[in-house]
């Protein structure tokens, strides 16, 4: 097996998955300024929903979308009934989202037990690409494709629709947006639900490859954080580039410098925060 080529392709594949995970996080963080520490839980819970739907014989894509919808509903409720009352208060938001992440993790353990769940790769996506001495599963490349499609869809939404204009206004300056008549409150609920749905969708997409197990939430949350900090909060392009960057750092770091794998992963985050706090593609918030 060609090590370098495999690592490179896998970096891109992991990047695709990371984008699905962190696009929603970036929107929530950028627009609402909420450090949503339950984002990893959304990913995990979504994946559990997905494997349950698949277990009942549902079509793979349908399961992923259904899981996204279910999570959107949950996200919207959490936002409406809990987070809404805490707008602008970072500390209580941190506590609340952490509290919910405890609750979700324990509920998942209760419902889905400690067993790992790994759905089979959908039949039409099995197989592998063989090229230049490399053997690479098609499914992971499909994830990249899906990530790109979602990235384009999100970009179209943010840049070309009325909703997107409202989001942009909200990211840039929420008080002004409110003054010009944008219903920021409803917008926030919508974005939070969308972010939750994207994470859940990503969770289902990732399940045949990462599997779902207790602790997946805590593994994914820091990755989402790094991606968004690197790329810049609220910037979709940033989340996309950040995802692929972290994909590369993760793969090559683990293979080349296993002792320092996590230093390699987190050091860029520190550097960006210190040298360019708005992230690589973020706008300077006045």
């Amino acid at each position: 097996m060609n090590l370098w080529l495999t690592l490179a392709v896998n970096s891109i594949a992991l990047g695709g998955l990371l984008f699905l995970l962190s696009a929603g996080f970036s929107l929530i963080f950028g627009l609402m300024r909420i450090p949503n520490l339950m984002h990893g839980s959304f990913f995990m819970l979504g994946a559990y929903f997905g494997v349950t739907f698949l277990d009942r014989g549902m079509n793979f894509w349908l399961a992923a979308i259904a899981s996204g919808f279910a999570m959107a509903l949950i996200g919207a409720m959490v936002e409406r009934f809990f987070l809404k009352r805490l707008s602008g208060q970072e500390l209580p938001q941190v506590l609340l989202t952490l509290g919910f992440s405890f609750i979700i993790a324990d509920l998942c353990l209760l419902i889905w037990t400690g067993d790992p769940w790994q759905p089979t790769t959908p039949a039409h996506l099995r197989g592998a690409v063989q090229a230049a001495g490399m053997f690479f599963p098609i499914y992971r490349l499909v994830i990249v494709g899906v990530a790109v499609v979602i990235a384009i869809a999100l970009w179209l939404m943010v840049d070309w629709t009325r909703l997107g204009a409202m989001i942009r206004a909200g990211v840039d300056d929420a008080p002004i947006a409110r003054m010009v008549g944008i219903k920021v409150s409803q917008l926030f609920t919508l974005i939070f639900a969308l972010g939750a749905a994207l994470a859940a969708f990503g969770g289902v997409m990732g399940a045949p490859y990462l599997s779902v197990y207790p602790g997946l939430d805590a593994e994914m949350l820091p990755l989402a954080l790094i991606v968004v900090i690197l790329g810049g909060t609220g910037s979709l392009l940033g989340a996309l580039v950040g995802s692929f960057l972290i994909g590369f750092l993760y793969n090559f770091g683990q293979a080349l410098f296993p002792d320092l794998a996590y230093v390699i992963l987190f050091l860029p985050m520190v550097l960006v925060l210190v040298l360019r706090p708005q992230g690589l593609f973020g706008k300077v918030v006045p």
């Binding site: 970072e90 992440s101 405890f102 324990d106 320092l260 987190f266």
Partner: protein
């Protein structure tokens, strides 16, 4: 506070209870739980210096805590004495705190939180993956607890008293800090950073010093932790620990002396005592946090005080003052 005030009475009773705890608790298991509450309370108090008084939310304190524990553990394992190991541990923690502070104080708010989180994760990553240095997941065992003034701390009560002394010193130093001009200037940088700057205060330096104080007590607590468990492993430095300590501070009430102690007690009791009776203790802990935030966003201690005042006013004057209604936020 006057000698006849209820606060003084409460304080005197608490001190008495703490001093006699091993006698009325009896079972060494519960004495050990009390020791755990005390050293976690020290970490929570330390974090509170930043979170409560300086308005800087750190999610990297587990890294500092582990730094002290690992330095001491590795030096003891290498055959050095307790004094050398302990001093080295505190120095290492202070140096690490200084680096943390220099990097993270370029930012405030969420930026500060994120930088400390990332720095904490780097230290965790080293403890976790640099196996040739830190023994990785297997952790570091230390065989003995130190002797303190000729008293062997191996016994649960002896260790409890040692921890109580440290805890007492920490509380006193925090009380002094809060009332000192320096404490006032730290609060000033939280509430009115620009004005402080204009008044000629070096805001950065004040925050830096606050970080060092916080780091110092975190390191001390880290030492207590490693002596208590006689063991340290990377899980201690994980984000989970930083989050738990932050939860202690916020749930108890930031910017108060009692709050972090109450928060530490809740978390330690949930994790160790309640978990023996309720399998889903993580769920209960999560629900408690969500409930605290929903009903007492300022934390348990200020929240209870507010309800108390509210009830008191209702009883005495039947005319509550506007600021004391539940639902109004403290400050």
């Amino acid at each position: 506070m006057s000698l006849r005030s209820p606060r003084f009475a409460a304080l005197a009773i608490s001190i008495l209870l703490l001093l006699t705890l091993p006698a009325w608790v009896g079972n060494p298991y519960y004495i050990n739980i009390a020791s755990q509450i005390l050293f976690w309370a020290v970490v929570a108090l330390a974090l509170n210096v930043l979170v409560g008084y300086a308005g800087l939310v750190s999610l990297g304190h587990a890294g500092l805590f582990g730094m002290a524990g690992y330095t001491a553990g590795l030096l003891l394992q290498a055959g050095h004495g307790h004094l050398v190991a302990d001093i080295a541990a505190i120095v290492a923690t202070l140096l690490t705190s200084a680096i943390f502070a220099i990097l993270s104080l370029r930012s405030t708010g969420i930026g500060f939180l994120m930088i400390t989180l990332a720095l904490g994760q780097i230290l965790w990553g080293i403890a976790y993956r640099w196996a040739s240095l830190t023994n990785g997941d297997n952790g570091v065992n230390i065989t003995t607890r130190p002797e303190f003034l000729g008293i062997n701390l191996a016994n649960a009560s002896a260790f409890y008293y040692a921890t109580l002394v440290v805890f007492g010193l920490a509380v006193i130093s925090m009380a002094v800090f809060v009332r000192s001009p320096f404490g006032a200037s730290v609060r000033g940088t939280r509430d009115q950073a620009r004005r402080m700057n204009a008044l000629g205060y070096n805001v950065w330096l004040i925050r830096f010093m606050a970080f060092l104080i916080s780091g110092f007590w975190t390191g001390v607590a880290g030492l207590l932790f490693v002596y208590y468990n006689q063991f340290i492993s990377p899980q201690v430095m994980a984000l989970q620990t930083s989050a738990e300590v932050l939860l202690m501070v916020i749930s108890g009430g930031t910017g108060t002396l009692l709050g972090p102690v109450v928060g530490a007690a809740i978390v330690v009791i949930m994790k160790n005592v309640v978990s023996a009776y309720i399998e889903r203790w993580n769920l209960v802990l999560g629900v408690i946090f969500v409930a605290i935030i929903s009903f007492m966003p300022e934390g348990l201690v200020p929240g209870t005080a507010r309800l108390w005042r509210y009830g008191w006013h209702r009883l005495t004057s039947r005319k509550p003052s506007a600021g004391d209604k539940p639902g109004d936020r403290a400050q």
